[in-house]
Amino acid sequence: MRPLTEAETRAVFEKLGRYIGENIQLLVDRPDGTYCFRLHRDRVYYLSEKLLKVAASIPRDSLVSLGTCFGKFTKTQKFRLSVTALDFLAPYAKYKVWVKPGSEQSFLYGNHVLKSGLGRITENTAQYQGVVVYSMADVPLGFGVAAKSTQECRKVDPMAIVVFHQADVGEYVRNEDTLT
């Protein structure tokens, strides 16, 4: 476990910024204590300073997880957000997509969101903008990337993909073993 290097921090913040924009500030400066990012076994964890003290006293080999896992660095040093970060993305998300109840399941199985399943989308979402996906009952289901801008979404045919799937909460069941 160690703090992130400059380059790593940039990679993480850049990725986070695609979903929550300048709200990233709110993650770092919190009124309820100091929070920080830590790297452990290529994974990035987000936790309070208080928790950090405890985690620091656990031997590195036996430390499994601390606070919330945000994602991991790939072997090529790219940062990949995982679904476990959803709890922190959802409240701050700038661009959102709501899926209809009928296609909720399809998304939770790891499929892209099609135009036919699109319930609602934030105005002026640009193409390739990071979006958080919600059910119509406002339950966050995952996140992805807008395949079409809001304008284009109106015109495309029902089977066209509007959101590329990146992560969904179905992964908790599908690949529990690789989450950490």
């Binding site: 936790l47 339950v139 989450l179």
Partner: protein, 455 residues
């Protein structure tokens, strides 16, 4: 009295005979056949029950010691039917009423769990898999047996405390603790099995628990890794005799040695747990010990051992139901305060068999053992043995080892055997305080629980 025929036994006949013999045993003087002793009746009854419910003779004998006969039948019957599926609302993310409504809309038939729980729901039937609904994936609830809510309620964690969950997989109790603390303070979730920690991490993230650190240490190293906790929950690995309905293999694959091996590990763990608690804590200083076993060896015996070894006393668990723990069992006498421990049975409470004890630690000092043979045990477990002491200890080990071998070779009547094993246990422990006695048996039941949670 009829002797068992050689061909495959007719279960119906056996069932009739069990019933008949039960009746006789209830009113022995009047109804018995002339010239038959109670022992003969009991032996036949045991054999019949072993055949009818397919238990090992050993386990059945143990159960007969714990339950009076009519209750035993109820217990055995209850083990044949599954317990109701229950879920716990994750109040970090939703409210029980909202969750119930959402699940009802998905075609789930449910009810509140009982007056004692504000978060539990019983699922009667469901048209969708209950472990894969969008609500489940979003972390609005956790699939969890009713009985595993109880230890956490007994622990009663307060906000901003430091809590240790020693054997946490698959994380149901841990997340319940976090939810009662409203994600404040800190929880150290530990388990010795790395495989099963995957599910812990998954569950904690899914349920939105942010105040937990997950570690993979041996529970017995605990005060060394980190100590000074306000409360500790020790859900010890056990033989799983309380959850036979979930894992019927327990009926036949446990014997005396397995039980004692569990008990030994539990005693080591409970001392570690107690040592990890800070008695001077303003809000806490509590330890909750629980198992899903109903064996006296793994419960009252372990608790009694802890009472003798450390500065702790038993306090009320805060649960207003459940049966009192035994203060006397066969030839054993336990501390009278064991009355405040609680036992739960499948047939009386319709939840898994469970045992819960809550300790309050009143001093951080570790009392020195009075007897001569004891210090070795203490010293070894505390790893403060100077080299000079090691020498005689090793010799002792050798000696005891041979004695143990001898004793295991001789087949003995069960009662006597237990006695001798008990006598032999202490030095054995002094000799090898570590790996050998470890838990090939430990995780049996937890494996099972994973299955339940495994959607």
């Amino acid at each position: 009295m009829v002797f068992l025929p050689a061909e495959p036994p007719d279960l119906h006949v056996i069932h009739q005979r069990i019933k008949g013999n039960m009746e006789v045993l209830q009113d022995f003087v009047v109804k018995r056949e002339e010239g038959r002793t109670r022992q003969e009746y009991l032996a036949l009854l045991r054999r019949d029950m072993a055949a009818y419910y397919s238990y090992s003779d050993f386990l059945l004998m143990k159960l007969m010691d714990i339950f009076p006969l009519p209750e035993l039948i109820n217990f055995l019957e209850a083990n044949e039917v599954p317990r109701p599926v229950t879920v716990r609302t994750n109040t970090l993310k939703t409210r029980r009423r909202d969750l119930a409504q959402a699940l009802i809309n998905r075609g789930v038939n449910l009810d509140p769990l009982g007056k004692w729980s504000k978060t539990g729901l019983v699922i009667y039937d469901s048209s969708v898999p209950i472990g894969a609904t969008p609500e489940y994936l979003a972390g609005h609830y956790m699939l969890q047996g009713a009985s595993s809510l109880l230890p956490v309620m007994a622990l009663a964690p307060q906000e901003n405390e430091r809590i240790l969950d020693m054997c946490c997989a698959p994380g149901g109790k841990t997340s319940y603790i976090a939810q009662l603390m409203k994600n404040t303070g800190m929880i150290l979730a530990n388990d010795s099995n790395a495989e099963r920690l995957h599910s812990v991490v998954g569950n904690l993230h899914r349920l939105g628990v942010t105040n937990a650190v997950v570690s993979n240490c041996d529970g017995r190293q605990f005060p060394k890794v980190l100590g000074g906790f306000d409360r500790v929950l020790l859900d010890a690995p056990c033989s799983g005799t309380g959850v036979i309905s979930k894992d019927p293999a327990v009926k036949t694959n446990k014997d005396e040695k397995d039980i004692l091996r569990c008990a030994h590990l539990q005693k080591e763990l409970i001392l570690s747990a107690i040592d990890s608690v800070n008695a001077a804590s303003e809000t806490g200083g509590y330890i909750v010990y629980c198992t899903c076993s109903i064996m006296v060896e793994e419960n009252e015996w372990v608790v009694d051992y802890a009472l003798k070894k450390r500065n702790v006393r038993l306090v009320a668990t805060g649960l207003d139901f459940g049966k009192e723990g035994f203060t006397r069992f066969k030839d054993r006498r336990f501390h009278p305060s064991l009355k405040s421990t609680r036992r739960f049975y499948p047939h009386t409470h319709n939840m898994d068999g469970f045992f819960i004890a809550k300790f309050k630690k009143f001093s951080n000092a570790i009392p020195q053992a009075q007897k001569d043979e004891e210090p070795a045990v203490e010293a070894a477990s505390l790893s403060t043995v100077p080299n000079t002491v090691m020498e005689p200890q090793l010799k002792k080990k050798k000696l005891e080892g041979s004695k143990a071998d001898r004793e295991q070779k001789q087949p003995q009547p069960a009662l006597k055997k237990r006695h001798s094993l008990q006598v032999q246990r202490r030095p054995l422990k002094a000799g090898r305080p570590s790996t050998k006695m470890m838990c090939p048996q430990g995780p049996t039941r937890k494996k099972h629980r994973v299955k339940l949670n495994g959607q």
